[in-house]
């Protein structure tokens, strides 16, 4: 039945469903973050809108939509308006290749691309444009500083992130994401690639500009960083992009190191596989929030030093060892 549909329609339907799921997920990730942070700080968090505050995201969305959209007079109007779209566009594009489970006819994804992991990296590397252009186009000093920091930070950490992932690719000897998951049927790569995993989660936090690497926003120093001047829906788009990026890197971590959908009894039961996948992703998201609730922000020079002087050498070392092992044993 599904095969009967033309390919473009199939892709469109898949995309739409995924879009709705991802946006909802974003909304509730946000709520979960507020709740978890509140609990860690002995508060209860949002609890007034709907039962246990479950309608809070809807209220926030409404507020964001109806707030006035301001463009500062000193801003570059074209790029100022373009930047949030770049951010969300690149954030969503990654989902084109992410598989969520394994069905009879192949992985559950919009497109099963050979170079899937490369695609994800290519797309996420574009995400920085949204931030840097937004900061530049706002035409005021705090956004500019935020975006300059963002650019430097993201370039630095992308390097280490890619290096840490190449170890996995070497071991799986494929760049297809479903292929990588299949390659973990014997053992999750978190075991052989533990160092790579550690580097990956650290760089992933940095790539998504989350605490303790949120130098880009840095409320206590830069007001709100790159989106200081944004308001209303445009500000909301940056918000969406940040959380979707969080979900993306969590998905990726699950696929690359935690065996994706695989788990006890998952083969042949795609829904169970999906459940495993979601549980793993949520665990990652919780870890994100947990970090935010615990760690203070790094100083900027330490952040750069850490990236270049610790993570990059470690990732190189990990790659080297993996390459030697793969060359000798496989």
């Amino acid at each position: 039945m599904i095969e009967a549909l033309p390919l473009w329609l199939l892709v469109a339907i898949k995309s739409l469903v995924l879009l709705i799921i991802v946006i909802t997920l974003f909304a509730y990730t946000m709520l979960a973050e507020r709740k978890v942070l509140a609990y860690m700080q002995l508060r209860v968090g949002p609890n007034k809108v709907g039962p246990w505050g479950l309608l809070q995201p809807a209220a926030d969305a409404l507020k964001m939509i109806f707030k006035e959209d301001l463009t500062p007079s000193s801003a570059d109007p074209l790029i100022y308006r373009l930047a949030p779209f770049i951010a969300v566009f690149t954030a969503l594009l990654a989902y084109a290749v992410i598989p969520f489970s394994q069905g009879e006819h192949g992985p559950w994804s919009i497109a099963n691309v050979n170079a899937g992991i490369l695609f994800v990296f290519a797309i996420t590397s574009m995400g920085v444009y949204g931030i840097s252009l937004a900061g530049w186009a706002s035409g005021s000093k705090y956004p500019l500083l935020g975006s300059v920091r963002a650019t430097a930070q993201m370039i630095s950490y992308e390097l280490a992130m890619t290096m840490s992932v190449i170890g996995v690719i070497l071991q799986a000897s494929t760049t297809s994401l479903s292929g990588i998951v299949e390659a973990q049927s014997r053992m999750w790569f978190i075991v052989p690639q533990f160092l790579g995993f550690l580097i990956y989660i650290i760089t992933a936090v940095a790539e998504t500009n989350r605490v303790p690497f949120d130098l880009v926003e840095a409320e206590s120093e830069l007001v709100a960083g790159f989106h200081t001047e944004y308001s209303g829906l445009r500000f909301g788009l940056f918000f969406i992009a940040e959380y979707i990026n969080m979900i993306t890197v969590s998905c990726l971590a699950t696929l690359l190191f935690l065996g994706g959908w695989s788990g006890p009894g998952s083969s042949g039961h795609p829904l169970l596989g999906l459940l495993y996948f979601v549980i793993k992703v949520f665990a990652f998201l919780f870890f994100y929030i947990w970090l935010r609730g615990t760690l203070p922000r790094l100083r900027y020079d330490r952040l750069m030093a850490f990236g270049w002087k610790v993570l990059l050498p470690l990732a190189t070392l990990n790659l080297l060892v993996t390459a030697i092992v793969v060359a000798l044993w496989y």
């Binding site: 609990y39 860690m40 002995l42 508060r43 947990w290 615990t294 760690l295």
Partner: protein, 212 residues
């Protein structure tokens, strides 16, 4: 970088998730405020319905936030507001400027202005938070208003009683010298205080804190 410390921190925050929450479901559950809580102002009356405020503007000059505006006028037999000659023709407090420090209450010679425990005064316009006499003055049918906050030594509620209380106070309690916040210090940093017998009592300032 101390990795163990990071994990310790993570453990701490994780543990806190399961502790009892400090939040109170505020509009539905209200906590008792402290007995000396400083909230919204109120202009009190005497038992006979007369306004206590005499429009002397001492609260205005005492106010560190410049939130109070008073314009006095003269009582006439036809239009009498307060006992004595003078009353507050206009009395306004900008509650948005107010820092609720209670200096106005301290400064007031007739205990007319008091800070009540009420604190919910949110509104939609700035103008509505500039309280004039119509909002500040206790309506006559509601009695005389909140009692002023207790001060060291248990101060009188009425200026007319000052003389009586003065005569009953023993000076050792330090009350006289701290009456309405006036400390009379000599150059040695000691407090000069007259006694009813006419002599001087010199004491260390710390001792004045007694009587709380």
């Amino acid at each position: 970088m101390n990795i163990i410390a990071i994990f310790k921190g993570l453990a701490t925050t994780f543990g806190y998730m399961f502790r009892r929450k400090a939040t109170i479901d505020y509009p539905f559950v209200k906590r008792a405020h402290a007995s000396r809580f400083h909230g919204l102002h109120e202009l009190r009356r005497y038992e006979d319905g007369m306004e206590r405020c005499i429009g002397c503007e001492l609260c205005q000059i005492a106010c560190p936030a410049n939130a109070i505006t008073v314009i006095g006028a003269e009582n006439t037999p036809e239009d009498r507001h307060s006992p004595g000659e003078r009353y507050a023709f206009r009395y306004e407090i900008d509650e948005l400027r107010c820092i609720f420090c209670g200096m106005c209450e301290e400064a007031c010679p007739t205990d007319a202005i008091t800070l009540t425990p009420r604190f919910e005064m949110a509104n939609y316009t700035r103008n509505s938070l500039i309280y004039d006499k119509s909002k500040l003055l206790v309506p006559a049918e509601y009695g005389v208003g909140e009692a002023p906050h207790e001060r060291p030594g248990g101060l009188p509620a009425d200026l007319g009683e000052v003389a009586r209380i003065k005569s009953t106070m023993e000076p050792e309690r330090g009350y006289l010298a701290t009456w309405r916040g006036i400390d009379i210090l000599t150059s040695e940093g000691k407090t000069y205080m007259p006694t009813p017998a006419g002599g001087e009592l010199v004491r260390e300032p710390e001792k004045l804190k007694g009587g709380e």
